[in-house]
Amino acid sequence: MSRKPRLIQMVIASMLGLAISGCGSDYTVFHPAGPVAQSELNLIVLSTVVVGIIILLIWALWAYVLIRFRDKPGRKAPYWPTWRHHRVLEVLVFIFPVVALLIIAVPTIRTTYALAHIPASRRPPLVIDVTSLDYKWLFEYPRQHVATVNYFYMPVGRPVLFELTAHSPFGAFWVPNLGGMEYTMPNRVLPLWLEATRPGVFDGRNANFSGKDFWRMSFKAHAVPDAQFQSWAQGLRQHAPQMTDADWRKLQQFTVVPTSSYSRYPAYTFPERATEFTVHGLYYTPTHKP
């Protein structure tokens, strides 16, 4: 067999692969596993459709003008060497983007406010305190008194309030299947709520450059039925080791580590908060560690 067809086959195969993978599960943003990611996807679809119409319109106009008015001998298209104003047209090209933007802007603002707090209709949230460290993620469960590194479990059908901070440069906590990201910042605690409505294991990663091994700062989010979550936490409390001061110091070193679990953890590993987060409030005021 000659070499040429093989190359062509390769090209066609990979092009086809691209086309098919458009609906594949690799497109994590397109496969929401919860209400937050779903409402974000709705906005992505809406805005794509609206701007898609604008793009197609301008492409069509561009192609038409280029073909019709290209300077060629014998060209019959009209030539208006002094045409520089058209009141109606100028108002129209102003109104057109305004209308398009209104279609996007109204749901944008609604969703922005909606996502800022956990809807009152949902169950009270599970709280997970998240700390990004140099090249690892620490997840602490203040009610369950357990902690994990580079993975966490969450119950399906119950909102989770992530309280995010960093013990390192800025990071960004992102689980695309569950919803968009939020930064982790030292000396600050930022809230982010997410919920899984179907069980699954979802990829999460650090979305903000924080050093040479930041790209290896990925973790797994396990969404499991409530009962399974309770027994998992129970199991950790009984069998996992306690996090010691030495463990905490070790976590602060610049290392990439595998997953691990702890049955207890020292309280000082997460910034103190003078007031609890208002779960149903519009927005929380995080307090600084003195």
Partner: protein, 661 residues
């Protein structure tokens, strides 16, 4: 044999392990050989005096424009090589083309070089080349300051560019967010290089802003009211005012970070109640207007190129000016959209999402107006026009994805992902670079006196544009797959491999397009197609009423302007002889005299900066004293002007065939 410990310490500081990689040593050797060859060539052909008199000490805006342009092209090459290194590393999962450390240095350098040392100087190159000529001026308002700006930029660029072989490159990204850029996370001198080089070049940029603001406001020819001014001059005016207000926050952010790193202050540090968030605010209060500083001039260029090659006046001139002004004002109110995810709350995020969307309105108006300018015209497809024709369908995608990013909750999913990377390359390449290259091909004959070959230019443009689409369209989809920016590698099995592969192929196609452009320039230099008319494109504005290249004093007699597109009207009404002069109308002209002060001032800044980078404070003080000395020398120097006599002018104009018979 024992080595002096002091020398040993110095060598370790100048050449840490990160600069002793084989490829870097190879480049060092190549650059040294090239430098020696250049010195030998200049000495053998006895050109040192020529170089000093004609270029290094010049204050002529046309020559400064050429120097900016060549520097920008060299920097485009450097930034482009960095881009190809990035894409080579990412062509497949788990590549070890570079270490993670080197990858971080390369993407930092790529961003910094492309924004500050490629796009900015190319903007200034075209401002210098075209603005004084199109408004009927003999030079910019402050010619010596113009030379100072250039040399500060040049030495700033040198400072950043030597970092990879002496001391180590910066590696904290072009935004250099603290606390990562803090000493405890980012030791070494790399980040100091970043801070000092941008600071030095930034002073030059602010001076350029002042210079062109005054030039456009004060030096227009009689009769050229603001509303008769070409849009490119408008874009220079508005860009300059943006620079004036946008760069000071950057100066502050860089200065405070320098105090943190070198003197142990804690403005932005992780500990001691530092506020790293404040840096993000300051940086983007600069950074967002900065992207409009980069896109306004291309908007101006297209507003010249489209009418010229459609043989029609610009459609909706007033709307075009109004939208430039609207964009410039709105651009100051959008910076938080760079960090919707830093916990500002729904009220703030909604405000900045909306303000960002608003920018799409004037930009949309401009897109439509260019198309309506072509409507009813006679479109000639030249290379400058081809870049514009590539710009319209490309930039509209970039603008559209910008609106998508302004959709706040959707941005929670796009932020820092490859979707965002694709978006800003879509507007910076598809807008700024396509525009600047259009301007380069458009004004090239005016700058050099010869045209660039058409066929080669078409090939360069087509390959570059095809390469662009192939590189960046897959990156939008990588974003939807959860790939984030600045990853120095990625594991297999995430579905990222095929898209990254095609993106890399596209980058190489773009690289080939760039090489053809370089070939195009060199070939056309060897086989020059001289522009004897001064108006090779049958254009509309005043710069084309002059010979190519324009004489030192530009206009022997300052023209009287009666309308927009004055040169076109002259041609239509058969008044082109008006630009010719007679013995009666010629007067002696005062022009600024060459001065070595700008290059010495910039050199002093360079020396002082090296002192700060390596924390050799005696050298920093020495550089500071040098700056004071150069300023004092500049203040007390007499004879800053020379007179070009009537006879010289008559002789020059006669040679150009511009004397009334």
């Amino acid at each position: 044999m024992t080595m002096n410990p002091w020398i040993l310490h110095l060598m370790k500081r100048l050449f840490p392990p990160q600069v002793l990689l084989p490829d870097i040593i190879g480049i060092d050797i190549g650059l040294t050989i090239a430098a020696i060859a250049a010195i030998v060539f200049l000495t053998k052909t006895k050109r040192w005096g020529w170089l000093w008199r004609e270029w290094i000490t010049t204050v002529d805006h046309k020559k400064i424009g050429i120097m900016y342009l060549l520097a920008a092209l060299v920097m485009l090459f450097r930034g482009g090589v960095d881009a190809l290194m990035i894409r080579t590393q990412l062509i497949a999962p788990h590549q070890h083309f570079m270490s993670a450390q080197q990858y971080d240095e390369v993407f930092t350098t790529h961003g910094t070089v492309m924004i500050f040392f490629m796009a900015m100087p190319m903007v200034f190159a075209l401002f210098n080349a075209a603005v004084p000529l199109m408004i009927g001026a003999r030079d910019v308002a402050f010619p010596r300051l113009n030379a100072i700006s250039f040399w500060l930029f040049a030495f700033g660029a040198i400072l950043l560019n030597i970092s990879f072989s002496i001391g180590g490159s910066p590696d904290a990204g072009w935004m250099s967010y603290p606390p990562y850029s803090e000493l405890m996370f980012d030791p070494g001198v790399g980040e100091n290089y970043f801070l000092l080089s941008l600071q030095v070049a930034g002073i030059g940029t602010i001076a350029t802003g002042i210079n062109f603001l005054v030039t456009v406001l004060r030096l227009r020819a009689p009769g050229m009211t603001l509303t008769r001014m070409p849009i490119f001059a408008w874009s220079a005016l508005i860009t300059s005012s943006l620079i004036l207000f946008a760069f000071p926050p950057l100066t502050v952010a860089l200065g405070l970070t320098m105090l943190d790193r070198i003197f142990g202050a804690s403005f932005f540090t992780l500990g001691h109640q530092g506020m790293p968030m404040m840096y993000a605010n300051l940086f983007w209060i600069f950074g967002h207007p900065e992207v409009y500083i980069l896109i306004m001039p291309p908007f101006g260029i297209f507003s010249e190129v489209v009418p010229t090659f459609s043989k029609k006046p610009l459609f909706g001139y007033e709307a075009m000016v109004a939208s430039l002004l609207a964009i410039s004002i709105l651009s100051y109110g959008t910076w938080v959209h760079h960090f919707f995810e830093m916990g500002a709350g729904p009220g703030v995020n909604s405000f900045f999402g909306l303000s960002t969307m608003l920018i799409a309105i004037p930009t949309g108006v401009k897109m439509f107006n260019w198309i309506f300018t072509m409507w009813g015209g006679r479109i000639r497809i030249t290379v400058p026009m081809l870049w514009q024709l590539a710009f319209v369908p490309t930039f509209v995608v970039g603008g559209a994805t910008g609106v998508m990013l302004a959709t706040v909750p959707a941005d929670y999913q796009y932020h820092n992902s490859y979707f965002m990377i694709a978006h800003f390359h879509n507007v910076i390449l598809g807008g700024t670079v396509f525009g600047l290259l259009s301007g380069l091909y458009y004004w090239w004959p005016k700058m050099f006196g010869w045209k660039l070959n058409h066929r080669q230019g078409v090939w360069a443009c087509l390959l570059f544009v095809v390469g662009f689409w192939l590189t960046f369209m897959p990156q939008y989809f990588l974003g939807f797959q959860g790939m984030t920016r600045r990853m120095s590698s990625y594991p297999p099995g995430l579905g990222w491999t095929a898209l990254n592969f095609w993106s890399t192929i596209g980058a190489y196609v773009m690289g080939v397009g760039f090489l053809i452009m370089v070939y195009n320039i060199i070939w056309s230099r060897i086989h020059p197609d001289w522009d004897t008319t001064g108006d090779p494109w049958d254009a509309r504005t005043l710069e084309w009423s002059l010979p190519s290249p324009a004489p030192e004093y530009n206009f022997a007699r300052i023209p009287q302007v009666h309308s927009r597109d004055e040169w076109w009207e002259m041609k239509q009404e058969g008044r082109t002889d008006e630009v010719k002069i007679s013995e009666k109308t010629v007067h002696a002209i005062h022009m600024p005299r060459n001065t070595p002060m700008p290059v010495l001032l910039a050199l002093a800044f360079f020396v002082g900066s090296i002192g700060m980078v390596f924390e050799w404070f005696w050298l920093a003080i020495l550089g500071g004293l040098g700056v004071v000395a150069a300023l004092a020398y500049g203040s007390f120097a007499n004879y800053s002007e020379k007179e070009i006599s009537r006879d010289t002018i008559l002789q020059t104009e006669a040679q150009l065939g511009r004397l009334e018979s």
